[in-house]
């Protein structure tokens, strides 16, 4: 069953990118939010933490880069057709 295989592939890629990236984004959000200082329900505040904040931003950028690469991968043949640039020479 070739088809079962490609369904399985799509499921796998879907899980890694479709669920993994949101999770990564969520981790970034937690880091960024904690780094930006938290006010608890009882009113106590935690000081800001620039390292955590930076880590959060770095994770956001990473997620963005993965998406960008994936998009370029999909359009690679069109780009090569029109502009003659092979973006993924080693793939």
């Amino acid at each position: 069953m070739v088809y079962l295989e490609s369904i399985f592939k799509v499921l796998l890629v879907g899980l890694v990118l479709g669920a993994g990236l949101p999770a990564l984004f969520a981790v970034g959000l937690v880091a960024f939010s904690n780094g930006a200082g938290v006010t608890d329900a009882d009113g106590t505040t935690h000081s800001t933490n620039p390292v955590l904040k930076f880590l959060g931003l770095a994770l956001f950028v990473l997620v963005g880069l993965v998406i960008l690469t994936a998009l370029l991968w999909i359009t690679r043949s069109t780009i090569e057709h029109h502009f003659g640039i092979n973006l993924f020479p080693f793939a």
Partner: protein, 408 residues
Amino acid sequence: MIILILLIATALAFDFTNGFHDTGNAMATSIATRALKPKTAVLLAGVLNLVGAFLSVEVALTVTTSVLKIQDSKSGTLLPNIDASTGLTIIFAGLIGGILWNLLTWLFGIPSSSSHALFGGLIGAGMAAIGLAGVNWSGVTQKVLIPAIAAPVIAGLVAACGTWLVYRITQKVMPKRREEGFRWGQIATASLVALSHGTNDAQKTMGVIALALITTGHLTGNVAEDGLPFWIIASCALAIGLGTYLGGWRVIRTLGKGLVEIESPQGLAAEASSAAIILSSSAAGMALSTTHVATGSILGSGVGKPGASVRWAVAGRMALAWLITLPAAGLVGALAFWISHFVAGMTTQLVGDGLIFLILVGLSGFMWWRAQQQKVDHNNVNADWDDSTNSVVPADLRESAEPKTAAV
């Protein structure tokens, strides 16, 4: 020649209903969580569909050869047992089946698959014209039926995992900051879905127009080598972009409000799952219905969130619509072919095809008018869902309209 122009116009009209029907796939969750204003959302989706249509032509090549057997699969030329005028009428009738089914489901606010409507229409018209042998059954099974069952399940699974993870990870983040952060993520992922929709669905119409031009000999069969004429790509991109911008508010409302009450973390997880699956499956050579994927994802985001509930009655109605989309659109396509063929037998082909075109315009106009009676637009798209009837029309609007017209 007149028939060819009529056919291209009808194909673009189908493309338009396709965009219009599927705005919700990308933007329903962002509109429901108010991450984007409804008008902004449809504008963004429209532009991205336009851009997406230019990105790739892979799908256009497979659409026509894998559904109908009127082209030689190797050389792309017309099979000897079909003359050009029959070929044109088949495609024409198929498009009519697709458009009418799209409009009908839109009227009821059901997010059914535009691709299935198109394929169903073509299959029905093909069967009416040439019999069972006119349809590429193995192609239909592999490229239409199996993905149709698999897609919503995969999408639901991925979205459920994503939603669960996201809620788990961000448990301790301040609700306000969490909501804000995920809104941004949601806009990004929704944009991706709109883009992938353009790369997928605009292609289907391009394929149909290309097939019509091949049938009449205006285009050589070897599209893979020579590429598509620019005007086809541009006009299809424009049609789907405009359709998306107009926005099928009824479908948006069902997806965003009807299935589950969505929060922005769920929206992000659902759209991320949709985008990942649509894009990766087209890379793996699976032609998916974007609608099935989006709906599966939204359902999954409802299952994955602790404490959220899914309106299974609405989901069930949708699943039913999915099952009958292929045969129903096929029936309309076959009917259209028979009417045209019958009339053409007594008069000319132009009269036959002209007549089904007029029928199409008339029925579309009627459904448009019915929708205007109880209008769902950007103002009331987020109105509370009425659990007692599960109707797409908001309760207050339906009551005020009741004396004049029956409930839709």
